[in-house]
Amino acid sequence: MSAVRRHWPLWTVVALLAATNAHAGDPTRIQLVADIPALALSIVDASGAISGEVDGIATDALAGPNPGEVIGAAQLGLSIPTTSGVVTWGHRDGTETFVAGLPAMDVDGSYADPFPGAILEKLYNPPIEFDATGSNNAAQRSVSLAVRIEQPSGGTIVVWKDIVLVKPPVVLVHGISQNPSAWAGFENEFRNNRGFKTFAVDHSGGSYTSGAPTWGGNGDIHDSYQFVRGNMPGSVGVAEALARFRTGDATAHAGLKIVVQKADVVGSSYGGLLSRWYVEQAVDYGDDVRKLITMGTPHRGVPATNMNAQAANDDVIANASSQLFSPFDTMAGTLQLIDDLGFLRWKQDPMDPMNDDVVPSLQVMTFGSEVLAQLNDSAPFRDDVAYGSIVGIEDQLDFVVFVINIHYDLDPVVSLLSEQKSYFPMMPILDAGPNDSDAVVPIWSAKLPARSTEVLFDHLSFHDSATVQNTVSIWLQDSTLPLGAAHRTAFQAEVIDQYTSRENAYVGSTLVGTESVGGGLVEDAIVQVKFSGPALTEVGGLSALGSGGGIVTATMTGMVRVDVAGVPQPETVTLVNDGTFVDTPLHAVTQILDPGTTPAGEFFTFSIDASFSRGQASIVGPDGSVAGTGIWSVGYEISAAPDYTQAPWTDIDFLSFVLPTIFVPGESPPFSVGLAPGSAFTLEGTVNATAAGAATQSVTSEIWEANFFFDTLMESRSFNVSMPAETISGALMPYSEPGFFLFKNGSGQIEGSAGSSGETTGDFYQFLIQPGASNPSSDSVTVTVAP
């Protein structure tokens, strides 16, 4: 601007003075000198992570448990060069006027003195939250940090810089069989409408440098947490998100270098477990997570994954029907279909029937898994991280044409239309009823005690739910979101009452005295029947009960509910043969079971022995029999109200009855007999028991020569067979009788004590005469006379 020089003639001035002096004051001229010092306010990253001047800072602190305590935070280092004068640190208010200090820590942050008395430098702590009310949807707001220097030479200098405050980066971690696209709607809302910078981790595979496969987001937690950590190529995790803030990347606050130490993490389902593993277990945790919000994360596991794992490596479960498609498809087929449709990866190689390895994520999420034990048992949650959980209670996954609750619909059952018998009878109970799960993860597994909210959404619908998005947005700006310590005690103390581990802890466990030991809903945790007895052999991969007969003991392990606490209760467990429409009871055993200290309504174990055997053409038990041989299924039932549970069915091959041939111990046929007394034969076989219990039963066994018209009796002997106490009427019980002889007579022909064959060689067989049943014959063996 040009100035006007005042070249007024002296007389004009005098005249003016004369004219105005009478009624007006004279103007005065004040001359001042103002120094504009070489003075700049320097604002840098106090941590040194960013070199040079920075533009802003993220509000990434946490409120500590004690009043006024602040946990961790990015800090700005402020300084001015050496100057003389009185230095005051403050800010510029809305009218651009300097005000000493910062008025409200929770709004504008606060100054701290790194070195008390060092007036030329300060540290700046941002407010704990971007907006204490949680309602500010702006991406950034500014604070004008200023310094006033009252110069000794006169004049006051105020220098300032506007810094931006921003919300910490939000790292999103998807679940199994998903990829970052699951967050598309969520990111759109958070980036465009709520002022967050979001970064979606991609642990679905394709870029993992450790060499471990991720199977579409189903990778091993010990490796896959690295994606959350954020140093994996092709995926933006915590470290990369922080780096992008610091460099002013276009995906962060473009062009602005933002000082930041910690990010917030939102994990969906398995993504929440990966995040917890990184934060709580990883040796290379970068101390860079502020808040962790989980959505439908199975902190205590998913019971259905126990079934999934079992279906992969247990033929019984693999060949069972699923409720979803019963009786048209097996569990293996159903899971394969779900895999093909892209909903759930369950086996590491679903196309290879010989590879039974399930994907690692399912192993991790198995109820009672080692990983979950490591996460939860000793010291779950960090004290310098705040946690919250979103818990879904819509227990039906809506696939438009059908809905699924995996606890019910993937329950493997016996493939009978009339009898939907479950191999995991307790699995539906884990998901105790309407609105007790998000159709995949039960409430008791997804909930973190100190802060959770239940929303009427299913496991796949969290991301795009406006309710969930609003809750997450508020929690991300909520300084009262509880720290890990606030969750820990309650989490560990929580009794997972009737829905969970207690009733399942007994499944597959071992009874020691009256207490069950071990168990849990693990791989073997199905109600089971185990058979024992010398007569049960394996033929072609099946348990077979052949002509050797004998009594088979079925040890049946299972659970029943306690009717009245502390009162022993009678339970009848029935070993049954699986009929097409009606099951045939073989042996019903009633025992008075002592529930010990188990409360009423909960489960306790039993272990009961029952027995069965076979006749010549039937399956027999003390309480019933079924005619026929071939492959039959047996299992057990508890059908007395209020209990009802079933065992898995075990196939047993009841082979056709064969009476053993005669033989000479230590020789192979054809047998050769010499002069009297000749060769001794031992006749072995099984006899049809005429009565139950211990007894002595008389039978007659004979050796006959087979001829074209009339067979010749060579030897006959009656003897007593001792029956043991467990003998079942109609069962085949073994005998072994030595002392039969065939010899070469004086004519050089084969002869026995009851007759002569009249030949030097012939075919001989055993014939059994038994009361109460038909008399069977064995096949023949050839006997010759010695030269």
Binding site: R6, T28, I30, F115, G155, V158
Partner: protein, 213 residues
């Protein structure tokens, strides 16, 4: 911070106080006066950055009815100076003896760093005010961009004369030459100088470091 350095800061603060004390007197203005002017010689101490984007605002006391910046330089060069001016009016009803501060803020930025220079001008209404007060030389200051600067100290000869410094002595700068020092100011300044010398003596009296065997 060691004790000696802390003491030096204290002494520096005392010295600063003595200089401020000198300026605690008010400038005289007459009631019913218009086109009173505050001339501000802006001296830019930045060695390489000009002072730019200059604006001037005023906060008025009760005894000033209006103030207007009449001269606003476009920029002040590095290690250079330029002139700003603010005209203000004192109303007819201003009572004798009444006083107030006219606060002038010169805003701009140097090398991207925004800087406010806040000048508090204490005014008091008197019957007869001197025509010129403050850092006064000969004549009325006027902008002199590109004017001759014989001693190359960043202030043109014309402005040095107007503000009372020696245009041929680079050590003589407007405001740095105490033209009419009061006895009180001299006494306090001497005291400050003595104390500062004392602090230097104290710092030199640090005990010797123990020798390393």
């Amino acid at each position: 911070m060691n004790r000696s350095l802390r003491l030096a800061y204290v002494l520096l603060a005392i010295a600063s106080f003595t200089m401020l004390a000198e300026r605690s007197q008010a400038y005289d203005v007459e009631a019913d006066s218009t086109t009173n002017t505050v001339f501000v010689l802006l001296w830019n101490g930045n060695p390489a950055a000009s002072f730019e984007s200059i604006t001037i605002s005023e906060a008025l006391p009760a005894i000033v009815t209006q103030a207007t910046a009449s001269i606003i330089p476009a920029s002040v060069p590095a290690n250079g100076s330029d002139l700003a001016a603010i005209d203000f009016d004192v109303p007819a009803g201003a009572a004798l003896g009444s006083s107030g501060d006219l606060v002038i803020t010169v805003s701009g930025s140097a090398s991207g760093q925004p800087i406010d220079v806040v000048l508090t001008v204490p005014l008091q209404v008197v019957a007869t005010a001197p025509a010129a007060q403050g850092v006064v030389g000969v004549g009325i200051p006027a902008p002199d961009p590109g004017g001759v600067d014989s001693d190359a100290d960043g202030v043109s000869d014309a402005l040095e004369i107007a503000f009372g410094s020696d245009p041929f002595d680079p050590a003589s700068m407007p405001g740095k030459t105490v033209s009419v020092p009061s006895l009180e100011a001299i006494g306090l300044t001497c005291l400050a100088a003595l104390l500062m010398l004392g602090s230097v003596w104290l710092m030199r009296r640090r005990p010797p470091q123990p020798s390393v065997p």
